[in-house]
Amino acid sequence: MKRLLGVALGILTAIGGFVDIGDLVTNAVVGSRFGLSLAWVVLVGVVGICLFANMSGRVAAVSGRATFEVIRERMGARAGLANLAASFLINLMTVTAEIGGIALALQLASGVSYMLWVPFALIAVWLVIWRVKFSIMENVAGLVGLSLVVFAVALFLLKPDWGSLASQALHPSVPSEEGPGTYWYYAIALFGAAMTPYEVFFFSSGAVEERWKVKDLVQSRINVLLGFPLGGFLSLSIAACAAVVLLPAGISVTTLSQVALPVIQAGGQLALAALLLGVVAATFGAALETTLSSGYTLAQFFGWSWGKFRRPAEAARFHVAMIVVLLAGVAVLTTGVDPILVTEYSVVFSAIALPLTYLPILIVANDPQYMGKHVNGRAVNIVAFIYLVIILVASVAAIPLMIATGAGA
């Protein structure tokens, strides 16, 4: 019974934890401009993140090594440092975006400018990282974030033409008012949002934090294989809501307030309340995850002591690094840069950095010295290799497309 409860909790946390500001914004933007014609990318991204999160979790549980230790060990110091620089920059952008997201959601709730909420969000995030136990932090944010299900509820309340939605999703085509360049640019952005590397850093380090052993692998697999697809389903309902309300109205999403409009139209103030609760929890949870991820990547590259299972004094450099990252993120926000814009760039840069992260995981998951008899099976290897090719193509195409389309404008 207790075990069943644990599984249920894990799945719910994975669903709530899947969506962050990147998924929220990118899916709404795409829904409002392309309808559901990019839904297939979410599907591809979810399968990919399931595959590699599961793999990195398995490596961590069997060998006790988190992903960035593996990256440095296998790619060497030079390529490892290049990866560290890229991942750290993306993490920093994502931290900035998530803290901005918390503040924007609070502005939507209160009407008070988001700038005034930023210091509040900063302190709250830091306090949780400093004082709250890993498991509590994870579960609370994930469970409250589950109220984003309101997007799915809203979609039903909007009584859309299901047939037309389905045909958009099943027969994807570039809408007449958008060029193929922007279509593929947003395809890469959605892919990057679903497969952001920080999720893997966090997932594998979390496995070490919670001291997973081989026997916990079944549960982790259930969490991932049920939780992430359901999270992907949430992403799709965000896109669908935008496609049903905003696309016909000629509104293309550039702000968080626009993301909320379909939900408000469908469910009124109650739905809005649920939405805001969900957005705050999801972005807060993601802010924790990305801040920790920046600490994890740095500490694991340089071999510092890390982890929330240690007292801060026993992982001093790790905690100092996270404080610096949070302050840097807030410093970026105080320049007045639009957090939504930061989000949109961060998901595309994520897509660029993907190969550097996923290649070493795949290699080490096949290394018997690390994995013993738990090395990848043949089927997993074939799928993972196909994904590696997709990731590589997306990564190489991202910058030319970004320049050509003026970042999707």
Binding site: Q107, L108, A109, S110, G111, S176, E177, G179, G181, V245, A249, G250, I251, S252, T254, T255, L256, S257, Q258, A260, L261, I264, Q265, G267, G268, Q269, L272, V396, I399, P400, L401, M402, I403, A404, T405, G406, A409
Partner: protein
């Protein structure tokens, strides 16, 4: 090692070149350069319109609707900036830009009205005791609609989808 560096440099150069090539192809004639700001403005004013609607139906809270209007106002500012930086080459472009700027300022004004009406403590359509607030919202709604129509008309005329 030197070879791998050369390879990297070559790859980067190729990427930049490819990007430049693509953006060169996408380099648009004048009507297209006005397209971005025009679409942004259209999206902003339609959003504000929807937000006022939802407020009138008591679905949106005052805070959410005000924030939306405020966000759209910022969007209009950036669209206006873009338009002002647009260098018109022909007489036609010049006049198109000027009429668009005029409509942009109408839109900005109506967004400002919308925001103030939404932010007014009495703006609650049903519960407000002061009649002035509840009268104001429908008026603002009309203003937004007119502005939207003007912009759409101009966009059709200029051949902007």
């Amino acid at each position: 090692m030197t070879r791998s560096r050369k390879l990297l440099a070559a790859a980067l150069a190729a990427l930049v070149f490819l990007g430049g090539l693509l953006s060169g192809c996408a380099q648009s004639p004048s009507a297209d350069s006005l397209k971005g700001p025009a679409k942004e403005a259209a999206s902003a004013v339609r959003t504000a319109s929807l937000a006022v609607d939802l407020r009138l139906q008591e679905r949106a809270t005052a805070a959410a609707a005000t924030t939306t209007a405020d966000d759209m106002l910022k969007g209009m500012q950036s669209a206006t900036d873009q338009l002002e930086h647009f260098g018109a080459k022909t007489q036609d472009e010049q006049s198109l830009r000027d009429s668009m700027l005029a409509i942009f300022s109408t839109i900005s004004r109506s967004l400002l009205h919308a925001r103030d009406a939404l932010a007014a403590p009495t703006s609650a359509p049903g519960g407000g005791t002061d009649l002035a607030g509840s009268v104001q919202l429908p008026a603002v709604q009309g203003e937004l609609r007119t502005a939207t129509e003007q912009l759409e008309e101009l966009m059709t005329k200029a051949g902007i989808q």
